[in-house]
């Protein structure tokens, strides 16, 4: 019988206690909430810079971007990718370290490395990317990194890079017509030699 009444007492007191907690929240909802009004408000961009010394490393996990002028085609990022979403094809350049204006190929990277290869294909399938950031580390020229991406100027950071078609998520970074241009170049060279 005592149990019966303590049960009733506990029920009433604990329910009233809970209700008082929720009532406080009802009137102070704005104090603690973490909601962002999404299209108008966005997550702040993480505060560290995009850089490559270890103290100020790029901490954004967003879409990958490749600075093709700096890429030497070493395939290190392709090998580092755990899900094989990077595909690179290279061809030997006619001359090491020389600019090829026809296909907008730069001979020397910003670090001063002279390129021996022309990257004819550099595809990243962002629909497969697992955002692990492993590919950015081995890059000797620091040319692949995670960033706001091509739309970085439009949005401060592009969390929402949606596309109407899945194949649009395959980003093709290589210079347009690099393969054909290079073949043409080699042909004309051979003809000239002949």
């Amino acid at each position: 019988m005592k149990r019966y009444f303590t049960d009733i007492y506990e029920s009433v007191s604990s329910i009233l206690g809970g209700m008082s907690i929720t009532l406080v929240h009802l009137f102070k909802a704005r104090n603690d909430n973490v909601t962002l009004q999404y299209p108008e408000e966005k997550w702040p961009r993480p505060e560290r810079n995009i850089g490559f010394d270890h103290n100020s490393y790029n901490v954004i996990r967003s879409r990958l971007h490749v600075d093709m002028d700096d890429c030497i085609g070493c395939l290190k990022c392709e090998r580092a990718c755990p899900v094989d979403c990077i595909k690179i094809e290279t061809e030997k350049a006619p001359a090491r370290g020389e600019d090829l204006k026809e296909i907008k190929h730069k001979g020397v990277t910003s670090n001063g490395t002279r390129k021996a290869l022309v990257v004819t294909r550099f595809d990243i399938d962002m629909s497969e990317c697992c955002y692990c950031n492993l590919c950015t580390y081995p890059c000797p020229e620091e040319c692949i990194f995670m960033t706001g991406g091509p739309n970085a100027k439009k949005h401060p950071i592009d969390y929402e890079f949606s596309e109407p078609d899945r194949s649009d998520l395959i980003y093709r970074f290589a210079k347009k017509g690099a393969k054909e241009g290079l073949a043409e170049l080699n042909n004309s060279k051979q003809e000239a030699e002949a």
């Binding site: 595909k87 399938d125 899945r166 194949s167």
Partner: protein, 231 residues
Amino acid sequence: MSEDLQALIDEAVKKALAGDDDAINGIQDRVTRSKAKAALVKAKREQSKAVDENSDSESIEEQPTTDNSEYIILKIAKILEDKFSGCIDGEVHSDFIQLKPEKWFEISKFLKEDPDTYFDSLQCNTGFDLGDGLLESRYNLHSMKHLHSIEIRIKVNIDNPDIPSVESVWRVADWFERETYDMFGINFTGHRDLRRILLPEDWDGWPLRKDYEEQETYHGIVVPKVKEGWE
């Protein structure tokens, strides 16, 4: 943190170190209290560090069991050899015990129930493809009472992969063995409910064997081998 609070914490820590435990518990504010607790721990550690430096020799004896595991494995191998002669497969290794599959069920029961060994928990069961037509099942045993652990390995031929099930000894082995069966096709004889667990019932082959080849089709759906869009 304001200076008042810091002074309060310092004082409480001093009192607590002197043996007055209520000094910290008496602080009203939760946050301050936990800060004081953290400070107390720090102070205590510094004290004990000073003690440790004086007496280095003591701490060596209190090493966890991992270091004398070799000793335990040799000891248990000896017990097993005495009890079930001929159960050990090949020579005695220093970091695991290689057993023959025949008496494994009796041995497992003994290992669990004997007061000296008392391996009451099976930590892990790993299937293994050694190549050369050999499969292996590895058991990591641990004793909650004696806090020691051993690894037991049982080798079987790939053509006749029968190992006695220990599912009725350690109930946890029920699902572990089903998983090993699922991935390696090791047949645990005496298991009451040996079905595939992670893969569908009608899956072909044993995926974690080294000679496994993917199916061409599954239920009429062609398994894609080359990614679309890569041409």
